[in-house]
Symmetry: C2
DNA sequence: CTCCCTATAATTATCGATAATATATTGCAT
DNA sequence: ATGCAATATATTATCGATAATTATAGGGAG
């Protein structure tokens, strides 16, 4: 996450695995995670686990409360909206930079990535692969935009978005939506080619706005069902 | 930083002090900081210091490299620009939210804060107090905007900006600039009162853009002098 | 039966020591 | 004198144990 520091240290490896577990909903929102439990899982002392917790907490996926442990945060309606607003804004910043910094070979590579994405959405209906391919395009732009801090922040936000969308990925993605977003990616590329930062910013936002409206309804549905399902029995504690 | 977690734990306290030291340039950019040194300074073991380093590293002010320690990052021209772009974008997001969530009493309080700021800039020429008052206004908006993640990110970005501006605070701030930015704050408040998110977004950006153009020249000067002063002798290593 | 206080158990926070790693230094061969 | 290799040193990474803290369960009073 932070400028290619080697992931050889245990705390980084553990943090990455925990993050992946949370984002893929193997560890559910609201769940408490204990140092000891994780330490035993990885056969290490709890010291590196503590540091891993700090990493994940700084990403924002868990909340560490002193002498209690850490618990995964939950998905809320206004959080979803907030993440999207941040995502649009920060992706806009990065694309603005990218419009002036991307080199010709990088643009060529980006064109290929987008073409691959456009082809993928017509070939398979595995929505997780669609998402992965889409994320690959975004990550490529971020990586080569010359952004440092902005790249880190965008990565974090995109991680959050991935987490929130994971549970509804199968619903909101369709062939037509895939084609349309591929088209929007091509528009963005055109802005890069034209070296037009303002246009890149606008089109980056437009791309995510499309995603925003596509995901709004299914996510709303999910959250409604979720809250109706768990509130009657009483507060969950585990 | 992360949702009112108690600052009673040592690692949090140490992290906060280190952050303050860096932002106020008592620990200079590029400097290496050692666990042992900090541990002795606070009369603690180095375990909490490690965690504090993780905190500061996740903020982005230092870079932890395995088996080497941590070093404060340096100020670069493109970083300055990047921070401003992020700041504008994220402040825009938060103000967009604030336009719909700020309550009437909060708006009244905000009006007072802005008035205090406007008065302050005409009474004292202590530029650090100007900055502090300005930051108070921004922090108030962020705190009551209803933003969670966005607030955290904005806080981090504002911290970065404070760090980069600290060294030129005396140069870029003038009575006229203070008056003009107070006016821009009032415009922003008007957008809040009108409950107009789009306008709030635009005016938030305009406010920071004003600061951006005001700081650009002095900061450029500083960086030029800085690089001319240190490059001839050779690479710094401490 | 409910509420409050106390004792216990579970968990984290901190410490001190040891192992692992990278850099700097020294000696040697060229 | 210079470049390379082995060694020495300094520093971090990890571990195991102890101290500090919180939540909980149980008992007693109202």
């Amino acid at each position: 996450m932070a400028a290619e520091s080697d992931d050889r240290t245990q705390d980084r490896q553990i943090a990455d695995i925990l993050i992946e577990d949370i984002v893929e909903w193997r560890i559910l929102p609201g769940a408490w995670i204990r140092e000891r439990e994780i330490a035993e899982r990885f056969n290490v002392s709890h010291a590196p686990v503590r540091e891993a917790f700090r990493h994940v907490a700084n990403i924002g996926l868990i909340n560490v409360v002193p002498w209690r442990g850490a618990h995964v945060i939950e998905v809320h309606r206004h959080t979803v909206n907030e993440v999207f607003e941040m995502w649009k804004a920060m992706f806009g910043v990065v694309c603005r930079l990218a419009a002036t910094t991307l080199t010709e070979p990088q643009l060529a590579e980006l064109r290929i990535l987008i073409a691959e994405y456009a082809e993928l959405v017509t070939q398979t209906d595995n929505t997780f692969e669609h998402l992965a391919a889409s994320n690959r395009v975004g990550a490529f732009i971020a990586r080569h935009s010359g952004a440092g801090l902005a790249k880190d922040m965008l990565d974090r936000i995109a991680l959050f978005a991935r987490w929130q969308h994971h549970v509804i990925a199968q619903e909101y993605f369709s062939i037509e939506a895939g084609k349309e977003s591929a088209e929007l990616y091509r528009d963005l590329l055109a802005a890069f080619v034209a070296r037009d930062p303002d246009s890149a910013d606008r089109r980056a936002r437009a791309l995510l706005r499309f995603l925003q409206v596509k995901t709004a309804a299914p996510l709303e549905d999910y959250l409604r069902r979720q809250s109706e399902a768990v509130t009657p029995p009483g507060k969950v504690k585990t």
